[in-house]
């Protein structure tokens, strides 16, 4: 039978172990997850994959876009001293279904995101414990994450002119689980100034805006730091493919990114990526258009949700009242 001293020693030892484990546990809070995706597909009819061509005009019309893509290492974290790193989300595939109704120079849109696949690595970096997402079609067969509602308007410039200026607002309604790294679990909004134009075969578009993001997960590495500045630019050339079918191919890069106002253009609070995009589009005399878009690119600054590389395919159809 143990003596009272042994018993007290055991109690003290157990208490110390409990305290140490508590301290360790406190030093390794579990990251809850948040929306990692930085690729926000443009609304149907917007032309580019991310930017907005802003050629809104004419009678009532509607369009749909089906976008699917894959991102490699969209969320990687590293200790400040470089001692450890982790690809928390190493594979992410998705399908976005976009719908839009437009009239004259206005457009309202809806985007529904279905995560197809997500995987990564669990571990501890810089005192924070990360749990990898695990999404596959069997496990989450009908999962839908954040829904995005949008309104865009062309305010200045002709629909096919050299300079068009507009405004856009988008609202994310949260859906899904944070642990899948697909949602912040809060409402978010995006307000953008849009610019676009066409000079002969040259076409361009750009955006500057604010992503109103309530979530601030400081000091979790690579996590949201509250609201962000959004920026982006696209430029390309339009090549006529068939005059009979009014078909054209547009080729050019899109560069886009974001930085947290908390630490503007900081190394770990900014992300920038570039996509080389090509789109084949066919239009008729009434303004109906069918488009197939391809995009492939990499993270110029692969932090803060910008992946190592990304591939995107989209199909878009829209039509208007005759």
């Amino acid at each position: 039978m143990p003596s009272s001293r042994q018993f007290l020693s055991a109690i003290a030892g157990a208490s110390a172990a409990l305290m140490v484990s508590s301290v360790i546990a406190a030093a390794q809070p579990l990251a809850d997850g948040y929306a990692v995706e930085r690729y926000y597909p443009s609304a149907p009819g917007a032309g580019w994959l991310v930017m907005d061509h802003l050629d809104l005009y004419g009678k009532l019309g509607g369009g749909v876009t089906l976008t699917t893509g894959y991102a490699r290492n969209p969320y990687s974290v590293a200790a400040a001293d470089g001692s450890s790193s982790l690809h928390v989300v190493s594979n992410q595939a998705f399908v976005d279904v976009g719908m839009a109704v437009f009239y004259d120079r206005y457009r309202i849109s809806l985007n529904i995101a279905d995560p197809l696949y997500a995987s990564g690595n669990s571990g501890t970096v810089a005192g924070h414990e990360f749990s990898a997402p695990s999404v596959d079609p069997g496990k989450y067969p009908d999962k839908v994450t954040d829904v995005r509602l949008g309104f865009d308007a062309r305010l200045l410039g002709d629909a096919n002119g050299p300079l068009r200026i507009g405004l856009g607002a988008q609202l994310w309604v949260p859906s899904g689980e944070r642990s899948l790294y697909a949602t912040d679990g809060t409402l978010r909004a995006m307000f953008r100034t849009l610019v676009a134009g066409d000079f002969g075969m040259f076409t361009y578009a750009g955006q500057l805006g604010v992503h109103v993001r309530p979530l601030d997960e400081s000091p979790v590495p690579g996590a949201p730091r509250g609201s962000e500045l959004l920026f982006g630019m696209a430029a390309g050339s339009k090549f006529a493919i068939s005059r009979a079918y009014n078909a054209a191919f547009v080729l050019g890069p899109e560069v886009f990114g974001e930085t947290a106002f908390h630490s503007p253009f900081g190394k770990h609070t900014s992300g920038v990526e570039a996509l080389l995009t090509g789109r084949l589009q066919r239009a008729d005399e009434h303004g109906a258009r069918e488009t197939v878009k391809l995009g492939f690119g990499e993270g110029i600054h692969a932090q803060f949700g910008a992946p190592d590389w990304r591939a995107v395919v989209a199909v878009e159809i829209y039509d208007r009242v005759r």
Binding site: V64, D114, P137, G138, D142, K143, V144, V321
Partner: protein, 503 residues
């Protein structure tokens, strides 16, 4: 009656009914028509419905007879109030699947968008996002085949959940015959098609979108509340906890005949939300033969439906045998300490299916009749027998079911958009299933810890008042006997209310 492949917008489902006096109609509606759960195909909209497509068409902005796209939506709220009932023992010895005898309030709220797009001639895609919030009675436990609200889903929450209810591709190949008009409806584009055709569907859907369709119950959100009238209670169609699955269905339609074949995914575990995508190994197969007819000038249809599930399920006799051979090691409570899928029963004296799950087969065959009695009144009868040797995998724990219902619209009393109905349903279980439950075993929905076996039955009556063109308010009463097939429990009175809008 018109063909369910092409419900006619030009001819509302129930046309004027003037020959019978109102009193006869009122009596005749003391019956019920099958209603479908949230997973069922929604009914067609009538020509005078106030919805987006009609409004666009009326303003010349949309060709509703030759559509390239359409969009519809619905919002439904259902509340159910279960009154306190006879408090026979429940959740005995740690079994945990009883309906509690106290007063309970259950609700569901759902909103759905139905989006359709024509890709090319005969090629269509449909996408249906849906959001639902719910609170079931007793955590959706203790009722067999007569769950009081078809919208309830296993694993649902009071926090609204958004999900993709359907995303599928459909290709129609014309095979000749007369041409006929399909109408613009949820998950159906307006078009002119052959009466003889082959239709393929591939993707994410519920098998009830294509099989066991019923002229009088196209949209359960407008009709009966109880799941017993949604489809055969004994039809354990492969599906996840929401009633959805992935797979393919082929329809061969030749005038009044139709043959449908389908293979779909079952869940990985019984009544689970995850899909088993190895369709070569585990599957739910369905075949349905459908014939439409006219009797005394009134249209009707008769359908023969059979299913075969190949799933990782437990057989009742094997669970009992395992328990009897090792009562201390293979009881329900001892499942808890293992990684085996189980229902958290802590009954140490009961068998459990967790010990004997392996690839097993479950089969069933059913016959359904639907018949217009008049233009405004319809009768439906459904009966099915399943083998009852293994556990329920996707729908209800019923092994044999019979449902009879009558539905009527209120044209004869001057309210043509009102709907009323009455129905009765009986659900049985097999003798080995009853023995398993009597020993304290549980399955996905039932298990009181003991059983004095009896058929579970429900009688339901409802009336839906059309308040505005797209808005209905309904009152409902359900009388449930022998819940969970237990003669010592119940009867249970359930009062319900529903608000439903379409746009």
């Amino acid at each position: 009656m018109h063909f369910r492949h092409q419900p006619s917008r030009r001819r509302p489902l129930f046309e004027s009914f003037k020959r019978l006096p109102a009193s006869v109609i009122a009596l005749s509606v003391l019956g019920a028509t099958p209603a479908r759960a949230q997973v069922a195909r929604p009914a067609g909209h009538t020509e005078d419905a106030f919805d987006l497509m009609n409004v666009l068409a009326q303003h010349g902005l949309h060709d509703i007879d030759d559509e390239t796209w359409n969009a519809y939506g619905q919002v439904t709220w259902i509340s159910s109030f279960k009154l306190p009932f006879h408090g026979a023992p429940y959740n005995l010895h740690g079994s945990n699947m009883s309906l509690v005898p106290d007063f309970e309030h259950s609700f569901t709220g759902s909103a759905t968008l139905f989006l359709g797009l024509r890709l090319w001639r005969g090629g269509e895609v449909y996408y249906v996002p849906e959001v639902i919030a719910e609170r079931p009675l007793s955590q959706l436990r203790g009722i067999g085949g007569s769950i009081q609200n078809f919208e309830l889903q296993k694993g649902g929450t009071e926090t609204p959940q958004l999900y993709r209810a359907r995303a599928y591709f459909q290709q129609t190949f014309g095979l000749g015959g007369r041409r006929e008009q399909t109408n613009s409806d949820p998950m159906q584009l307006g078009a002119t098609i052959d009466r003889r055709r082959l239709v393929l569907h591939v993707g994410n859907f519920t098998i009830l979108d294509f099989m066991d369709k019923n002229e009088f119950a196209n949209d359960p959100r407008q009709q009966f509340f109880n799941m017993a009238f949604m489809t055969y209670s004994a039809f354990d169609f492969g599906s996840d906890a929401r009633g959805l699955s992935f797979g393919a269905v082929a329809e061969i339609i030749a005038d009044d005949w139709a043959l449908r074949l389908g293979r779909i995914t079952p869940p990985k575990n019984p009544n689970d939300l995850t899909w088993e995508l190895r369709l070569y190994k585990y599957f739910g197969d369905q075949i349905e033969l459908d014939h439409e007819h006219r009797i005394f000038g009134q249209s009707g249809a008769i359908r023969l439906l059979a299913y075969h599930n190949r799933v990782n399920a437990g057989r009742f006799d094997e669970a009992i045998a395992a328990f009897e051979s090792d009562p201390a090691g293979k009881n329900a409570a001892s499942c808890l300490g293992t990684s085996r899928y189980n229902y958290k029963s802590t009954n140490t004296g009961a068998p459990d299916l967790c010990w004997v799950r392996r690839p097993n087969d479950r089969v069933g065959i059913g016959l359904a009749l639907e018949q217009h009695i008049s233009n405004d009144v319809g009768l439906s009868v459904r009966g099915m027998i399943s083998d009852g040797q293994s556990e329920v995998y996707a729908y209800t724990p019923t092994d044999r079911s019979l449902a009879v219902s009558l539905l009527a619209k209120g044209a004869s009393w001057g309210r043509p958009r009102d709907v009323t109905g009455i129905g009765g349903a009986i659900n049985w279980i097999s003798s080995i299933h009853a023995r398993y439950l009597a020993m304290g075993g549980v399955d996905g929905f039932v298990g009181d810890g003991y059983l004095r076996a009896a058929p579970e039955g429900v009688l339901e009556a409802f009336y839906s008042v059309n308040v505005l063109n797209p808005l209905w308010i309904s009152a409902d009463y359900q009388y449930l006997v022998n819940p969970a097939f237990n003669a010592d429990r119940g009867p249970v009175h359930i009062l319900g209310g529903r608000v439903h809008a379409e746009f």
